[in-house]
């Protein structure tokens, strides 16, 4: 007798995108080619990755640093750049005080340095551009969402796309210069004159959810666990179907 398991809800439907396990699982050496400051606490690191298998907006990778005694530190980072054939990818890292890996990037790294990485990983939080996308991010949670926005622009996609980003203040808003009409910024501690200060709230979501694009929104939530809990609960309370909310928690 062979039993086949059928999951009880739609959440377990496989990610829409297959990760190429073979190429993605292999560690490879990437060379840092450029560092761009985004905010006082965040910078973008451009890496040449000659054997990059390609990625979909929203995916992340595993990065590892090795000390002379063989000690390794590995962390996950979302891919900030849109898929392209430049042979390069970009990561944007927050400088975590005393952070083992992010401190190396922010204080020691310079062009020419090499690091190791494997990926892309997880097809679940990816957005190939096939459905209307509602993106909610906080802090460095904007990174995978920006890959989606950049992809949308680079391909001139007609698919509706809206982004809500939360930052402590305008100086902490990553990619500020690049954000366009698709984006609404929410500031939690300080804001430009005339802009209210406060947490992401139902009132920010209401106008976006009332747009109801054909087929409905696919919601992508990314940031700290605290933000992910808060934002996903707001979405559910505003009527977004629970199985159409995808969450990437940075830990």
């Amino acid at each position: 007798m062979t039993t086949t398991f059928t999951p009880p809800s739609r959440f377990a439907v496989p990610g829409r995108i297959a990760v190429n396990g073979q190429v993605a699982a292999a560690w490879q050496t990437a060379t840092l080619t450029e560092i761009r400051r985004e905010t006082p606490r965040a910078a973008t690191f451009r890496l040449a990755v000659p054997r990059w298998a390609g990625h979909l907006p929203g995916q992340h990778l595993m990065l590892r640093l090795t000390a002379p005694d063989g000690y390794v530190a590995q962390r996950h980072y979302s891919i900030a750049s849109a898929p392209d054939d430049s042979g390069h990818i970009e990561l944007t890292l927050d400088h975590v005080p005393d952070g083992e890996v992010s401190s190396w990037f922010h204080t020691l790294a310079r062009p020419g340095d090499t690091v190791e990485l494997r990926g892309p990983l997880s097809g679940f939080f990816a957005w190939p551009g096939d459905r209307p996308a509602l993106l909610l991010g906080a802090g460095s949670g904007v990174v995978p969402l920006m890959s989606m926005v950049r992809h949308h622009r680079a391909r001139g996609l007609e698919m509706p796309l809206r982004m809500l980003v939360s930052a402590r203040g305008p100086e902490d808003l990553i990619y500020a210069r690049e954000l366009g009409a698709e984006t609404t910024a929410v500031f939690t501690r300080s804001a430009p004159r005339g802009v209210p200060v406060g947490r992401l709230a139902a009132a920010h979501l209401a106008p976006l959810l009332s747009e109801r694009p054909g087929g409905g929104w696919e919601a992508y939530v990314c940031g700290s666990n605290g933000f992910a809990e808060h934002a996903s609960r707001l979405l559910v309370e505003a009527g977004q179907p629970v199985e159409r909310i995808r969450i990437e928690r940075f830990g």
Partner: protein
């Protein structure tokens, strides 16, 4: 070895309890789940074991809680890189549930699934012999919703994505059927000591 220029890492004590590539998260307990945290009242929770068993059964909360208790004290390891030392979970050994349903001799694998529809596959041998629990207490307190409360699967000798939060049931099969993360490129088994993170490791 590919040494990173200038990287020394934190001062460290060699910790034999730390699997390769892991770090000690200390008091932190990161939350990593892909779905909205469900708020499941104990009265709405149930746990079913079926598939290749003599007698499929479903336990409601009070029935499961009335079974003989069993605790785990030890370490847990997440594939994202953190390990947590000296944690204490309370619940019931999976062996107790299996004794009641009596797995058939043909059963070799299991799919654990949650009340949200998340799935994880495991060889049956990893769930028996006092190595797996249905857990509802952490450090003597009810398990918090974001950590899988009211009850989660606990398989501490494997990476923690196998320890399905908001556990709803386990189906026994005579073959392996990849679960949610396994379909997304993660390893079929996930032994932290062999660093089985991704498919092919």
């Amino acid at each position: 070895m590919n040494v990173t220029r200038g990287f020394t890492g934190r001062p460290r004590v060699v910790n034999p309890g730390l699997p390769p590539g892991q770090y000690d998260a200390g008091d932190d307990w990161p939350v990593l789940s892909a779905e909205v945290t469900p708020r499941i009242a104990p009265a709405d929770w149930s746990f079913r074991v079926d598939g290749l068993v003599e007698r499929p059964l479903t336990w409601r909360w009070d029935e499961a809680r009335a079974l003989p208790g069993s605790a785990y004290a030890g370490d847990i390891h997440c594939v994202t890189g953190w390990s947590k030392f000296g944690v204490r979970f309370g619940g019931v050994s999976l062996d107790t549930f299996f004794e009641a349903v009596r797995p058939r001799a043909t059963a070799t694998h299991a799919v654990a699934y949650s009340h949200t529809g998340y799935t994880a596959n495991l060889p049956l041998a990893d769930l028996t012999g006092g190595r797996a629990w249905i857990a509802w207490e952490f450090d003597g307190e009810p398990l918090a919703p974001e950590h899988g409360g009211p009850a989660r699967l606990l398989v501490p000798h494997l990476y923690f994505w196998k320890s399905t939060k908001w556990i709803a049931g386990i189906t026994l099969l005579d073959h392996d059927e990849p679960g949610f993360w396994e379909q997304n490129g993660y390893h079929e088994r996930g032994n932290p000591w062999e660093e089985q993170r991704y498919s092919g490791d």
